[in-house]
């Protein structure tokens, strides 16, 4: 029997890798060309067959194809990975996938997928890899890494090492970019007597100037262009729905930055004999109205950012006078980071204007007239205004 030399084996491996990679490289452009409304789908379907039948060694190259790809192209590649893995079962190029995972310049979701493939083949190794990922640019990898820190903190707490546990919880809190994880950690830390600044961690903006109400009878206020949309004059007195209105300062008392416009404007006087809302409680609000909220965000540098909005009323947003996005939907729900709006901040003052429309529904769940907004990067890390104070501990 002839035994091939190590060099021959290596040469064969390189040859096989190149042979399997070449068709992948040729197929990728058709996948990456897909675009809106089905553009490029037919060619992509032919290219997908090439990818789906590729050797498992091609997986890192397919994953790398996601770098900079639009979300549709990334999905074509995502499904191809499934097909390749299904054909090759557990015979995956683990070392190459681990290397890919370690290269943080790759697309975060591609890296997460690489991690899942490693975990499927070698769960213990994947768990070990998480140790260094608490600051990972992939929110999901970071979430899992933070969960390991939390588990360790819980063990410390159970062993009576409260100070060490508190420090570990705080490290987890600082690293986390997952909303539920952050909320849970804030409660835990406070339960142990520690303090956390949730507002700062998220980057919620709590200080605003608000003006209103303007008319939204019949929903016409959404499209109507009221004076604040043409320019902000802090000293202006404007014609509102039922008289003159002017800007007034509002500081949200909510650590998640919820600005409750119903607390700004007096509610209708309840009919004789009906109970009035308690002091500080959300009041039965105005209906068929529009308000504007404006704030100035002083950016330390020009940079890409995200405005992340939660709102259950119809809304529009402008940054420095330019429209960013708008949505005409009422009372379907609100949550943190409900809308992620990519923007570019300019160095120095940036004006953020929010238009907030309230409809005329009278059902109990249609009372809210509020929003919450934060400024962060694409990972969810808060971007703080220039000169913002360090968090309290």
């Amino acid at each position: 029997m002839i035994r091939p030399s190590a060099a021959a084996c290596a040469a064969l491996l390189i040859l096989v890798t190149r042979l399997s990679a070449a068709p992948v490289a040729e197929a990728l452009p058709a996948i990456l060309a897909v675009d809106h409304e089905g553009k490029g789908n037919a060619a992509a379907a032919r290219a997908w067959q090439v990818l789906a039948t590729a050797d498992a060694d091609a997986l890192p190259e397919i994953l790398a194809g996601m770098d900079g790809a639009n979300p549709l192209a990334a999905n074509w590649l995502r499904a191809a990975v499934d097909a390749v893995v299904a054909r090759h079962g557990g015979r995956l190029p683990l070392e190459a996938l681990v290397r890919f995972l370690g290269e943080t310049e790759h697309d975060p979701r591609a890296r997460r997928l690489a991690f899942d493939l490693v975990k499927g083949a070698d769960p213990a190794r994947a768990e070990a890899l998480l140790e260094g990922m608490v600051e990972d640019p992939s929110v999901e990898l970071r979430r899992d890494a933070v969960a390991k820190v939390v588990a360790a903190a819980e063990a410390m707490q159970a062993a009576g090492k409260t100070d060490e546990a508190l420090a570990a919880y705080r490290r987890a809190f600082d690293a986390s970019r997952n909303v539920e994880q952050i909320q849970s950690l804030a409660a835990t830390i406070r339960g142990l007597g520690g303090t956390v600044d949730v507002t700062r961690h998220f980057g919620f903006l709590r200080g605003w100037q608000v003006i209103g109400p303007f008319d939204n009878t019949g929903g016409k206020g959404f499209a109507a262009v009221y004076p604040p949309e043409r320019g902000i004059d802090p000293a202006a007195t404007l014609d509102g729905k039922e008289g003159k209105v002017s800007w007034q300062p509002v500081e949200s008392a909510d650590e998640y930055g919820v600005v409750n416009v119903n607390l700004v404007y007096p509610p209708p006087v309840p009919p004789e004999g009906e109970a009035k809302p308690a002091e500080g409680e959300p009041k039965e609000g105005l209906k068929g109205v529009v308000a504007y909220a404006v704030t100035e965000f002083d950016a330390a540098e020009a940079r890409p950012a995200e405005l992340r909005l939660g709102c259950k009323n119809a809304w529009k947003i402008w940054l420095n006078g330019a429209p960013v996005f708008e949505r005409e939907e009422y009372h379907r729900g609100m949550e943190i980071d409900q809308y992620r709006l990519p923007v570019t901040l300019r160095q120095g003052p940036n004006t953020i204007l929010v238009k907030l429309c309230q409809d005329e529904q009278r059902r109990p769940w249609t009372t809210e007239w509020e929003f919450q907004l934060r400024v962060c990067d694409e990972v969810g890390t808060a971007i703080h205004p220039a000169g913002a104070a360090e968090p309290a501990r």
Partner: protein, 405 residues
Amino acid sequence: MDRPVALLVAAVLLAAAPLEADDWLEFRGPGGASRVKEDSLPVELSVADIRWSADLPGRGLSGVLVVGDRAFVTTSDGPTQDRLHLVCLSAADGRILWDRQVWATGRTMCHSKTSVAGPTPCSDGTRVYAIFSSNDLVCFDLEGNLQWLRGIGFDYPNVSNSLGMASSLLVSGDTVIVPVENDSESYTLGVDAATGANRWKLDRPKGANWTSPVILAPGIVALQSKTGVDAVRVSDGATLWSYAEGADTVSSSALADGVLYVPSNGVTALRLDPADPTKQPTQVWRENTLAPSTASCVVGADAVYCINGAGVLTAGDRATGKRRWQLRLQGPFSGTPLTDGRHLWAVNEAGLVQVVELGDKEGSVVATLDLGDEILCSPAAASGALYVRSNTKLHKIGRPAPAGK
């Protein structure tokens, strides 16, 4: 094409098409009537009739498709439910044959009771078309080969519903009907089944809408919304006629024997012109004591059956709409029941299958089976078995096929 070539092409097409009459290819089956062949489902049920229960890789409440020997279901998972799965299982034993994932390109926020995997997919027997609440639309062949995909929210960023989208797909000929109607940017699309490209894009009433379309006749589909029902030509999206007296935005219409039962002012029965369904239909009756809730009405042999929000099943005469009888079931129900005309199979949210014997003057529960699993989907039926899914499992319920079959 000369005759031998045409015959050869026809033979190849027939051989390639695994479509069987017993397949379940869309939400609520043909016409949305939730009808199954008479005596095709077991009436007496026991735990032994649970043929298998398969673990699913994610949550969802979309209905199941059955195409030949395969079952298809959608799920979602991940911290933000942005991993979208189309899963193919063996109908024989519940083994997962393949699982393909894409990532949500649209928003995944939805009410806690619903799911990103809310809409039921559809099939033409050779491909499976699936959409999710994030408005990601995918098409795979039966072997799991990706044919095309779309991000409807990527194309039209204001297509979404913060409570969740749930309208199901339909395929009619070579066009997939894609309802993405909501408060803001509200459309129904006619999409090329082969490539995913738009054939047409129809502006639709602005308003949250969870109802699903129904095929009225070859090449004609009914779109329901808060304004009523519009009959739309599948080839070009032209509106052929409209019934404009309002309709529900949750429960959907059902078609049987040329009559469309619309959840409108109770239930309104519209008879299509038998000679020309493109013409305005005739209102046969309107009955406001029929009050469907989340579940849609189903159409039996001579009665229409609706379950209200309190779990009360009402039988209405198909000819007049008049109430025949009522029966309180154990509710609540999210899924639409099935009927073969003699019995009705209703699965409540707690997973209790209730088999109702349908009489002229009364109905009675003759069997129950507790699945012990939250069931929010509408059941599917194929080859004598009932398919329901939960957030974690897909159950097949039915008698084993007779030996030799």
